[in-house]
């Protein structure tokens, strides 16, 4: 199965969640600044990368883990993924979208804006890292929930987790 973590910019909370999922970051404790900042994708992706579904790694259960930024338009992501899934008949259960934007706090927003939008990386990156560490436990819990769903099977009613299904189609 392909698991896609998505958030506003696809470079902070989704990257952190994907790395927790893959075991690149610890699940039982918050990592240090360096551990976070040494991640290849953390605070590295730019405006032109919005919408690019990027492979991060493969987990122990054989699932492929991806991240994507979709601004504040999750429905656009859901609709495109659903449409493409139907168009190419990629299978109902082949993909899971996990929205981690609710774990973004104001420090992450401010730091992300400074670093990614204005280019003040030296100021923005420490702020966004600090904000991420403040929310780390909640993110780790959410990832744990995803992992337990994957172990149990894909059926879920969790609002943050939406599977690409077979929706009604316009026109």
């Amino acid at each position: 199965m392909k698991i896609i973590y998505h958030c506003y910019g696809g470079t902070h909370s989704s990257v952190t969640a994907a790395c927790i999922h893959l075991g690149l970051l610890p699940r039982d404790r918050a990592p240090g600044y360096d551990e976070l900042l040494n991640l290849d994708l953390f605070d590295r992706r730019n405006v032109c990368d919005i919408g690019k579904i990027t492979f991060v790694g493969r987990d122990g259960l054989g699932n492929e883990i991806y991240v994507v930024g979709r601004r504040s338009r999750p429905k656009l992501l859901y609709n495109v993924i659903e449409g493409m899934s139907r168009l190419f008949d990629t299978g109902r259960d082949s993909l899971m979208l996990v929205d981690v934007s609710s774990f973004v706090n104001s420090s992450m927003r401010a730091g992300g804006f400074l670093s990614r939008r204005i280019g003040l990386v030296g100021i923005g990156r420490p702020i966004v890292a600090w904000g991420t560490l403040r929310n780390y436990r909640r993110l780790a819990e959410a990832v744990e929930e995803v992992l337990s769903i994957l172990r149990r099977g894909p059926e879920t009613k969790d609002k943050r987790i939406i599977q690409a299904g077979r929706p009604e189609v316009a026109c």
């Binding site: 656009l76 992501l77 168009l87």
Partner: protein, 144 residues
């Protein structure tokens, strides 16, 4: 089967209009009012951005689908092309055409009021005026 995905970055589905031109549901030359025969007001009002439009097949057997989303700095193109990448769908069997016609203030206004009950007539006039202007470009973009 070869697939053609047409995308556009505006609220009105210009990509779908281009697809209908390609499949013959809209003529090669602009015909007044014809556009509203393929797009009902209700469908336009209820159409969420990024939702797929199934256009049909061309005479040559190419399957055509369209997506549209209001401007988003390439987000739609990135989503579509990276979906093809992650499923390793051969890009020889699937091509993406992006409708890059210039916008206008009247088109933007027309799109904005198209879903409003009292002024939707004005919206239709403004949108159709713009489509009339860019129609040859729409035809060119899908026929090349």
């Amino acid at each position: 089967m070869k697939t053609l995905i047409i995308i556009s970055s505006c609220r009105f589905p210009l990509s779908a209009a281009a697809g209908f031109i390609l499949t013959g549901r809209l003529p090669d030359r602009y015909a007044p009012g014809k556009i509203w025969e393929v797009f009902s007001a209700a469908a336009l009002k209820n159409c969420a951005e990024g939702r797929i439009y199934w256009i049909g097949d061309t005479a040559g057997g190419t399957r055509v689908a369209a997506f549209t989303a209001r401007s988003g700095r390439g987000i739609l193109r990135n989503l579509v092309s990276s979906f093809l990448d992650i499923y390793q769908i051969d890009q020889d069997c699937c091509s993406i055409v992006e409708i890059n016609t210039p916008s206008s203030l009247s088109f933007a206004l027309g799109q904005a009021v198209l879903g409003l009950p009292l002024v939707c007539g004005l919206g239709r006039i403004l949108v159709e005026k713009h489509i009339e202007k860019i129609y040859p470009e729409l035809v060119r973009s899908v026929q090349t």
